[in-house]
Amino acid sequence: MNKTSKQSPYRIHRFSGLLFVVLGLLLVATILFSICLGRYPLTVTDLLTYIFTGKNTDPLLPTVLINVRLPRIIGAILVGGALSISGAAYQGLFRNPMVSPDILGVSSGAGFGASIGILMSFTVLGIQAMAFIFGVGAVFLALSVSKAIGKNHDKILMLVLSGMVTAAIFNALVSLTKYIADTDSKLPDITFWLMGTLSRITVAELQIVVPVVLIGIIPILLLGWRLNVLSFGDEEAKALGVNTGRLRFIIICCASLITASVVCIVGLIGWIGLIIPHFARFLVGPNHKVLLPASFLSGSIFILWVDNVARSATTLEIPIGILISLIGAPLFLLFLRKSSKKTW
């Protein structure tokens, strides 16, 4: 055997089963650690005793666990996982590793929806509904624009360009709402919303968002193999028996649905959907059957750790969107240095 095949990342690939066990355990450990971390510290022993026997030495433990820590942690897992899996699906769909989940304008749309909601003094639920509707709406706008004007062009290219145009329009509209917003009350609200935070997640929100995200993720996971085939481009995938139009539509719908539903509860959180799929591809290779679940797990673990830093590094909580960029960008560079052409 020659040198190239010995160094093949697929040697790792064969152990992907084991890798999932490791990622799973890492996630569980991270969850336990994150539960105990915080202004009101809990010990792992107390926590495990409470979980397995129901006895609590610390009277405040159930309250802190159920009302404070768990919603935030479940929310974080959901956000990190959803953004990473839709990033991975979009990178496969657009055959481009530079793509992130907001390529079709979902984040800009959601940002505008939320800004309008804040401007018109909607309730929290109203603002979230606006963010969701405008997020999904922006994607459909991009889809219809590309369909309407792109008859004589490459479909993928037209989608990306329509997404860029849609995002540009909504970003301009966000700036407009900021410009006309009351500088004492509304403007800070809009700005904070756009920064993103995990601190406001409630149990009630999770009851809606968890099922929606699960419904969106299942078709993406099931279509993993067909996403692989799409790597060779539209025409070849068609010749191999894939209904590319339908596949693209389903993936875009599901990915936008899950992205919009997490963005609407936590605000704009960038980067993660771009870098985590790269990291996962480095771990398990390009096969979407394993890449998609690996992205979900890595994304959850990553965001939990960033959130742990966000809420415990300083007395004032740092917005997680800022921290993800600050931590994610150098990590990404470090990882690019370690990885090679073989990764993508």
């Binding site: 055959r95 193999w225 025409e235 010749a239 591809r281 390009p286």
Partner: protein, 259 residues
């Protein structure tokens, strides 16, 4: 089985590249498609594969118009070996060959044990088992082409459409591809191959269709069709067509360009 195009007018945008084309490919038959650059060979293939809708005319597979076929069923019968490719992600050769099994999988399924066995057989048939665990993007052009042929074979089609399978290959790899094509010939497989070398038609002992001036200008057995006048007309150069006398494997017609 039969794949045919009737009175087809095909093109891009508003411009027809081919007009009023009639052509049929039967199983058990090997046809080489000749024509100068830009004559419309790839365009014809795209129409036959159903990825380019013709302006006029019908394309039928077993008598049914191809837009009535669903993509999966169609791909079970027609395999495609394209010209150029760029793969953005580093898939393993085995994965790429397994892509060929997609047409035989249910909507949400991925390849199983049996698909792997079929893929193994295809790699064996083409003598490239040693590439199995290599990364496709790191292979040489010739190796990649062989893998793509294996992918099409894994599709187990009744028709194989090859768009210049020998282009960008060195002399040895070109001949190897031709040898493989010859070894694939059988009564259940119809092969349609575009090529820039008229000699390939002689080597494959194939029928020849010539795409010229927006239509299929000539069609017939290679020895009858490929003549000095016809080559002069389509390529605009002087070529002598001579019979190689020899025993066995080299006894065939050859094209000798005058320089």
């Amino acid at each position: 089985m039969i794949l045919e195009i009737k009175q087809g007018t095909i093109g891009y945008g508003h411009k027809a590249v081919l007009s009023d084309v009639n052509f049929e490919l039967n199983t058990g038959e090997t046809v080489c498609l000749l024509g100068k650059n830009g004559a419309g060979k790839t365009t014809l293939f795209k129409a036959l594969l159903g990825v380019l809708k013709p302006f006029a005319g019908t394309i039928l597979l077993n008598g049914t118009p191809i837009d009535h076929w669903n993509r999966r069923k169609f791909a079970q019968l027609v395999g495609y070996i394209p010209q150029a490719r760029a793969l953005p992600f580093p898939f393993r050769v085995m994965d790429v060959v397994l892509f060929g099994r997609t047409a035989h999988l249910r909507a949400f399924a991925s390849p199983g044990k049996q698909d792997r066995m079929i893929a193994d057989e295809c790699l064996e048939m083409l003598n490239i088992v040693h590439l199995k665990d290599r990364i496709f993007t790191q292979l040489s052009g010739g190796e990649q082409q062989m893998v793509i042929v294996a992918r099409a074979l894994a599709q187990q089609p009744s028709f194989l459409i090859m768009d210049e399978p020998t282009s960008s290959l060195d002399f040895g790899n070109q001949i190897k591809i031709i040898q493989r094509i010859n070894s694939l010939k059988n009564n259940e497989l119809g092969i349609l191959m575009a090529t820039h070398s008229p000699d390939h038609a002689f080597m494959c002992d194939a029928n020849v269709a010539i795409v010229h001036e927006q239509s299929i200008w000539k069609y017939g057995y290679s020895n009858d069709i490929i003549t000095e006048e016809i080559l002069k007309t389509i390529y605009g150069v002087d070529v002598k067509v001579r019979a190689m006398s020899g025993n066995d494997d080299t006894a065939r017609m050859v094209c000798v360009p005058t320089v």
